[in-house]
Symmetry: C2
């Protein structure tokens, strides 16, 4: 049953009492980036809350209280999963109608006035300082769909695909917060037999899920698969913008580079790993026998997040994708165990992304590459527009939410980006 | 003619008065990492030097003097090329026999005693906090040699190779300072038709040159080719350790990942771009017409650094590679212009590496993959050992130096790593 708050939380809010996601905000009254949680249509400024004795009834956090006045969540994340859990539990209680500590906030209208802001009035910022960003390719249906397109059904998946979570190192500096405009990149493409220099003509989105790392392993020491989840701080939605024409020309033999490094958008609020725990389910079946270092003790290791993609053009907004993040072959603990099996050092703030998440049916695919069959078929949109790839001014909005009880949803809010015309050179 | 110093600088030193490379040190007396320069067999501690009025005769640096008490060189680098030049010129003068300011150090034995340390007594550390690390593939002979091995001479180079500097995003967290041990990684390899989990059996080095970025471009705004050099702080030697058997199984279609992310070693002293300027030469010829955004105004755009690789095994030390960094098809300004043509944001502290540098003759190749023909032929080493790939305990030492006047060399010192056995799992 849904927890009841003294704070009005609208039915259908992504930020119910069951969620308590963390982000970084600024407000008109203070331009210092600082931690906050989202709750209903409000945010609680944790810098103000903590400096006004908001955590007085949680003594275990007192030695670390300065983490709530940092400009990123790295220091909070580095405290580890048990601390995240106790802080989240505490903040849940503070907002509950039958809170154990009404004097902290429920009956403290003074603190409410200075620490609560309407969500619509705050500016969100990158929640973590990202060291390295790794993008996997764990969406089996996406890999298959793209493989069929370029190599036919018989050879759709590469021989390694079912044996290990294929991934590549992405460009950390290009990760931006939801709402940041994305410029159409220039680049080299084949047209049709010789390379030309042009603005990308096949600009695409990719629907992904991302995880932030909250613990470091020592260089040279792999993270064991059944400890990997304790390294995961929380999750965000990811749009790994892609230039398909640049990619096709550049990617052999070292993989995607310029086709990806012009921008990757993440949602603003990190949903803690604990908040997603109730929504674990079974991912896609892998009949291949996998190596022991990738075998998880648990059977349900992938989250069931309902994902949607809206495409907004001049003619209107169309929901072009509806799918679930169960459409993954590999779990995040598996990605992390594979990534570190070489001893690769993971650091607090590293971002791992899932790769494009697609279902198998029309309308469930997480990229225009799949939906338009690489530009062969135009999508018909609300209001009459058609699209094969993204045009200037188009806006892509990803949403993700867990649960069915409209009063207890655990959601990510939105991950938004609008395409700006290429810069004039 | 070589500049003459009041400080004894041994003939053949990499760190002549013509060099003045920057690094980060700690000493027995102070464990705080801080900037220093190397000169002859000594280092000058810039934290001590600056806090004892060492820069009193360079007023332009006074507003920024705190950069010399930082634990990395990022803040100094961010001041930009003209400041690096004035600080290098000033320090050159301070050490010259006919210095304009003898009272600063030449006749100030007190400051000499507290600011000069024997090179052999200091510990060096990563000189920059590295945001993103990108590895290119600009060594044409290496790309060709490897291509012939796997695809035959007719298809050795991929169609894109002569048109753009192929590269991939590397793992920044795995970049370590010279002297750090490198553990043999575990991973999946094909043996011969099914994947097994094993310690890598084809561990290799890669001889590369690296450049640190000292300026940021705004996201969405490419760096013009003829401004790109002003973004380059200085250069280091790079050993991009590679697991060839892991690479062969994992790299299709997204490129090298675990085969590279277990460690990349860089030399300790950053040779400033200004110090290398006199050694510019012509790189490898490219008869392909390249796009305007990659065309440099200048003809000589690649450094002529004499490079050597020593392999030390139980039986002795053998110089297995002698080549020059002129063996590059693309210059660093070209790499940077290509990398940012999409608007990819470069940041102060980013590391770009050249890719493996090889000549065309036996004994000039920058990897064991080439030298052993992927394990087909064993290299005969001093003292009787043979090697196809690296064994536990083997040490690889890369050296690089410019110039012929033994009193005016501009060198990098050494980039060293020793292979440790795999961790027990």
């Amino acid at each position: 049953m849904a927890k009841i708050s003294w704070l009005p939380i609208p039915r259908g809010s992504h930020f119910s009492l069951s969620n308590i996601p963390f982000g970084i905000i600024t407000t008109a009254s203070s331009q210092s980036p600082r931690p906050a949680i989202a709750i209903g249509n409000q945010v609680l400024d944790l810098a103000v809350f903590s400096s006004n004795d908001g955590f007085s009834a949680l003594p275990s956090i007192h030695p670390y209280i300065s983490v709530f006045s940092q400009p990123t969540l790295n220091a909070f994340a580095a405290l580890g999963r048990p601390v995240h859990r106790s802080v989240r539990d505490y903040l849940q209680d503070i907002f509950m109608d039958d809170t154990k500590h009404p004097q902290i906030l429920k009956s403290n209208t003074m603190l409410q006035q200075i620490a609560l802001f309407p969500l619509k009035d705050v500016q969100t910022h990158l929640p973590m300082q990202i060291g390295d960003y790794t993008d996997f390719y764990a969406g089996l249906n996406h890999a298959y769909n793209v493989g069929v397109m370029f190599r036919g059904a018989a050879n759709a998946l590469q021989p390694n695909y079912m044996h290990l979570p294929v991934g590549y190192h992405g460009r950390a500096s290009s990760v931006v917060i939801s709402g940041t405009p994305i410029r159409r990149p220039w680049g080299q493409i084949l047209d049709p037999k010789v390379p030309i220099f042009t603005q990308s003509k096949k600009l695409d989105f990719e629907l992904e899920l991302g995880a932030f790392v909250c613990s470091a392993n020592k260089m040279g020491e792999p993270i064991p698969i059944n400890e990997a989840e304790s390294f995961l701080f929380g999750f965000v939605l990811v749009n790994d913008w892609s230039s398909r024409d640049v990619q096709a020309w550049e990617y052999v033999p070292l993989g995607p580079f310029n086709s990806k490094n012009f921008g990757t958008t993440i949602s603003a609020w990190i949903v803690l790993t604990d908040a997603l725990e109730p929504f674990l389910g079974k991912g896609l079946e892998n009949k291949t026998e996998i190596q022991a270092y990738l075998e998880e003790a648990r059977d349900e290791n992938v989250y069931d997040i309902n994902l949607e993609v809206d495409l907004t053009t001049k003619s209107g907004t169309t929901t072009i994708t509806r799918t679930s993040s169960l459409n993954l072959l590999w779990s995040f603990p598996q990605m992390l165990a594979h990534h570190s099996i070489t001893g690769c050092p993971m650091q607090v703030g590293d971002l791992l992304a899932s790769g494009t998440i697609s279902g198998t049916e029309p309308g469930t695919q997480g990229s225009l590459l799949e939906q338009s069959q690489n530009g062969k078929e135009a999508l018909k949109l609300q209001g009459g527009d058609e699209r094969k790839f993204l045009e200037d001014g188009d806006m892509v909005t990803i949403r993700g939410v867990c649960g069915v009880d409209e009063d207890a949803l655990v959601g990510f809010g939105e991950c938004i980006g609008r395409i700006e015309p290429s810069i004039k050179l």
